[in-house]
């Protein structure tokens, strides 16, 4: 029996506003262990009467960053935990958490196949951990991120994604806007479909390993389309964010 995953009191080091509804929280962990890109942590809040609530949040940062992690959290309508994180936390606060957790939706830079990442909304968070890990580890695997968002102001990590692309000729990031697009936008402006996936994958030299994370409808649709386009089932890994199934 391996050692259990113990709760620890993390210290909130910084808060960064990513979009009007998304914040990134940087926590310093007294008992940090390197995660695998794609894993998550559980957070536990305790009310004065002892009532506790828990949620899982994907790690956004790369495992090469020692001693701390970033959790990127979308404010969920009426969300019990996300509302407290967004509105109740200040730098220096202690938060109980434990992790890293989850051993399947993970990518390591030692993997040599091309990488196809498909994200919807805040589903981009674990994929960003993979991109940051890829950069930190100096991996050159051909990589595509296809990132579906409703509107320009909802793009998380926009500036850093641009920087990652500039730094790596083997990385391309393709956005698609499903409700409102930026002025003068000439890229994709529709839900992800077979033609779009085909165009995104075509330049990859060999069969990619695919990671899909987002709302259920997007994940169901993209996973099915990838199967239909001939990608083997065992190369398609999914993580789904509820209607309320994901971090809330």
């Amino acid at each position: 029996m391996q050692r259990g995953i113990e709760w620890q009191a993390a210290i909130l080091k910084a808060i960064r506003l990513e979009t009007p509804r998304v914040k990134t929280f940087t926590f310093t962990l007294p008992d940090w262990t390197p995660h695998r890109a794609g894993q998550h942590y559980d957070i536990r809040l305790t009310a004065p009467d002892g009532y506790q609530a828990q949620r899982s949040y994907s790690v956004a940062s790369e495992p090469e960053r020692v001693g701390e992690i970033d959790l990127t959290v979308e404010l969920v309508e009426d969300g019990e935990v996300s509302t407290f994180l967004h509105e109740g936390l200040v730098v220096g606060d202690l938060i109980e958490m434990r992790g890293p957790i989850g051993g399947y939706f993970v990518w390591e830079a030692a993997q040599s196949e091309p990488l196809l990442l498909v994200g919807g909304g805040s589903g981009v968070v674990p994929l960003m951990a993979m991109l940051r890990h890829r950069a930190a580890a100096g991996s050159n695997v051909p990589t595509r991120l296809l990132y579906s968002v409703r509107a320009p102001m909802e793009v998380i990590y926009a500036a850093e994604l641009d920087e990652l692309v500039r730094a790596s000729p083997d990385l391309k990031v393709l956005l698609t806007f499903t409700r409102a697009k930026p002025q003068g936008w000439e890229g994709y402006a529709r839900r992800i479909d077979q033609a779009m996936l085909g165009e995104v994958m075509a330049p990859l030299s060999s069969t990619p390993r695919a990671y899909i994370c987002g709302p259920t409808l997007l994940v169901e649709s993209v996973a099915t389309l990838l199967l239909q386009s001939g990608l083997p089932r065992e190369l398609i890994r999914t993580e789904r964010f509820g209607p309320s199934g994901g971090p809330a």
Partner: protein, 205 residues
């Protein structure tokens, strides 16, 4: 860890006493039915579907879909608990009690553990005792409708007293065994048994 960390200004959502009693520690109640699975949803034509019980029983048995839906069916109204923290109360299912299936196979007295196999290569393991005495069923209808593929249709195992990863979607069969062998999530750091009331989420809990 030393000392309790309280979250200043956190009060949480208030629940009725009845909801509180039915919600295991660390869980929250959702009206939705979230979908969580690790890969593409398998789609199994009913003409190709079957369910088997093999291993430590006197005769391996396999049911086709047509055979399976002829078996005596029951309705089940149960609360379900997912390790990702959501709990859904009063879910209504129809299907076949595992007791009914086991009564057809002539169990060997050495059979103590079961590995559950699913279409799409998922597996999970549990003690045979947890599948008996009307504690578990193979469901093929949910909320009065055929069970949707994303929720495990054509048929899934439902074991409501354990975390929902034990309730294998797209179930295909049982392997009866003398010894326990870890399944998919049980090999990836999740708890081997998964009792939500003891909060057995991960290994060591």
């Amino acid at each position: 860890m030393a000392g309790q960390v309280f979250s200043r200004g956190f009060f949480g959502k208030r629940r009725t006493p009845e909801q509180g009693q039915r919600t295991p520690p660390g869980q929250y109640i959702t009206p939705d039915f979230p979908v969580l699975s690790v890969g593409p949803t398998p789609r199994i034509p009913l003409g190709e579907w079957n369910f088997y019980i093999k291993g430590l029983n006197q005769k391996p048995v396999q049911w086709s879909w047509d055979d399976f839906i002829q078996l005596p069916a029951k309705s089940f109204k149960v609360d379900i608990h997912c390790v990702t923290k959501w709990t859904k109360l009063d879910t209504e299912w129809e299907g076949v009690s595992v007791d009914t299936l086991l009564s057809k196979v002539g169990l060997d007295s050495r059979a103590s553990y079961v590995t559950v196999f699913s279409y799409g290569d998922y597996t999970t393991n549990l003690p045979l005792a947890d599948l008996m005495n009307d504690q578990a069923f193979i469901a093929y209808r949910y909320g009065g409708q055929p069970l949707a593929p994303e929720h495990g249709g054509p048929a899934r195992l439902v074991v409501p007293h354990l975390y929902l990863w034990k309730s294998a979607k797209w179930v295909n069969g049982f392997q009866m065994m003398e010894h326990d062998i870890s399944g998919f999530w049980e090999s990836l750091g999740y708890h081997n048994y998964g009792d939500p009331w003891k909060e057995q989420r991960y290994q060591g809990d």
